[in-house]
Symmetry: C2
Subunit: 201 residues, 2 copies
């Protein structure tokens, strides 16, 4: 029998997924829960809700508070924060590279580092140079990875994961789903989701 | 010099304001922070964002998760939960009566009890009988209170409070605002808001 597990669904353009990505591995280790990183694209899900871009751009007062809130959260966690421009950024390439890495050994490190680039250093993750720099820092050879990220297999996998997210009722990120189907939405639900994964309630 | 203070902005139709209303007085006492209850109406603010009703009704998958999330939160807090029908309910009369009570001694008790009626017992707060029952349980004479709630003074006060909420950048409820202007949105930010009220950071 396998132990408690939690699926961590995220989009690299999602602001509140940044603190979650940096926290989840240590918290899961403490809670003795196995975490499965599942990058997907929020774009098609937002479109189905009638938004053409991030709701934080659609609703400006809400967006303004989100940036301040994220800044406070990062300060509390002592993690770097720098608001990226533009926002939201296209996360397609990041998600595809992450899928390549998650099938190898460096996927989780890549996810954490790409979030750090964007929201800790204010870099553009839609620029190939940013992804290349992250791979270089992880000592991963970029050329075969970037080729694999453009393969049909990875493109189809990301599309399927995004469809699966929608099927599961995911409407934002980060989202955490336990083996028994409990969906927790938001960075502030991470601890509770881990506890549910462990206790089943 | 006065001590640390926090404004608690809420609409009786707001689901996540329910656990906040039941938690805030004990938490504020522990934190040695003075809380100011400020009922307002979300309707005009939602309309300004283009919603004709609660966003939990506009976005159905999000709404479904909210009810489940609220149920889990109430279970964790050991407070009763019963989903009210219909939702959202008209909170105008409740807010006006709350303003009458907050200028007297029973306002906070009324707020807590009205939230409990709606989200703990599934009652309709847009029915005069519910408000009357809450007042009776608090041993408040309903007739003069209901008359005062219809006065121009109270109607104007509620309108001004709602305008003030909008001016302050409030876009949802519950919202917590410290004396130095930090806005925290959501039941899950209550503890952090109290700490900010106390430390100024």
């Amino acid at each position: 029998m396998s132990g408690p597990a939690l699926d961590f669904w995220f989009d690299f353009a999602s602001t509140y997924s940044y603190p979650s990505a940096l926290r989840i591995r240590a918290l899961a280790r403490q809670a003795d829960v196995m975490v499965h990183f599942r990058p997907f694209l929020l774009g098609p899900i937002f479109k189905a809700q009638g938004w053409q871009t991030s709701p934080f751009d659609v609703y400006e007062v809400k967006g303004r508070n989100m940036w301040r809130d994220l800044e406070r959260i990062c300060a509390d966690l002592s993690i770097p924060f720098r608001r990226p421009e533009p926002f939201p950024q296209n996360s397609l390439q990041g998600a595809r590279v992450a899928l390549v890495g998650l099938a190898q050994s460096w996927g989780e490190d890549f996810c954490e580092a790409l979030y750090r680039s964007q929201f800790g250093e204010g870099r553009r993750i839609d620029e190939p140079a940013t992804i290349a720099a992250v791979l270089a820092a992880l000592r991963v050879d970029a050329a075969p990875v970037l080729a694999a990220a453009q393969s049909d297999a990875i493109k189809i996998e990301l599309r399927k994961e995004t469809e699966e997210a929608q099927r599961l009722g995911i409407f934002g990120a980060p989202s955490f789903i336990t083996a028994d189907g409990e969906l927790f939405w938001g960075n502030d639900r991470l601890e509770r989701a881990l506890l549910w994964a462990k206790l089943g309630r």
